[in-house]
Amino acid sequence: MSEQSFTDLLAPLVLPAYRLACAMLHDAPAAEDVVQEASLIAWRKLPSLRDRTRLRAWFLGIVANECRNARRRKWTGWLALPGSLSTMSSEEDVVIRADLRRALIRLSHEDRLVVVLYFYLDMPLADVAAVVGASADAARARLYRAIHRLRPDLDVQEALE
């Protein structure tokens, strides 16, 4: 396939893939690596994808898998406290955001993935299910569980609205 084919098919998905990788890894350079490698894998496997309507979910699934591999490879990077401790100041929102990132990074890969896809990439549950390779019901159950682990004080139904 040609460069034009790639640009037409996968290039529009690079930015969502980068956002997903950043959200999963909290490390922009590592996220760029992941997107690069995932794009190459996708490009090589593209002929095996019969249903092109599933391209986005299929590609993001590869990105998510590469994020998991990257995190395994870069195990030393996770010994540090996740996210720099922001200074205590009147900027309480900075602190709250850092806390939320710390809570996200403590979630398992699977739980973090559904949260990021649903809340950060604003994907509908059906698409989230397609990326994680589960049924819509299973994806919903995983999302409920992840929200509860992320914010035990929050009403899950309210969070989903």
Partner: protein, 259 residues
Amino acid sequence: MSLRAQIHAALGDVTPPAPDLQRRVVAYVIADDRDRVVLSRRRGARWTKPLRGTLGLVAAVLIVVLMAGIVIGGRLLADWNGLHKPAPGSDTYHSQLAALESRPLNLPLLQPDAACNRGPFNADNSALGAGPLYWYRGSAPTSTAWGRYYSATVYTDEHITGPILVRARDLYSNSTVMFVGQFATGTVAGTDVLLGSRMSQHTEVVINERDAPRIVTNPPASPHAFVWQFTYGFAGDWSGRAGWQIDAAGFSSEVFLSC
């Protein structure tokens, strides 16, 4: 603010713009294998592939040696400390702690219409406290049926020996701030279920240089050697504005207000 908006804000911080990424990815994918090595950000990743098995073995051996060193070194250090410092549980330690607990609390009680002014701050305004112990920050609250809990991060910038006693009061109700989990000690004033676990609520926290994980990778730990985290809580009807008193053998009481 909805959870979605909070997550967008939090993750937006770790997603810097990458305007050139799409072009680089296209170039990387279209390139042949040799050019791809040049274009790859992880240039070492491919040529090291044949060496990974050997390197893995060497790394495993080094880890074993390192672990053995840590165990042996830790025992030697413990023996050394045992000779030079009072250990928690020793008579000296308990007498030091009892002396700290006997110090009176110097925390103000504010009238309902009085303002609560946070402070004092350290020199660069990044933490509460005039030193040598600093209250760096508190987390977002976690609510329970009893009230709400926060995680506090404190650090010291000096070598402090012996126990450090932390006590706190709600500034408007004069109620004792409760501590749960690691480092919480003293009188058990009640129990509560936090994150699915039943916890005893204690009236004080005692931290010790011995308990502090050495964190040197993130501020504010560097150059500060000792950082602790503990959990404290307020009942639902308290103001949530606290006065903190820190006592240790190395320095006199330090009082600061978190408003």
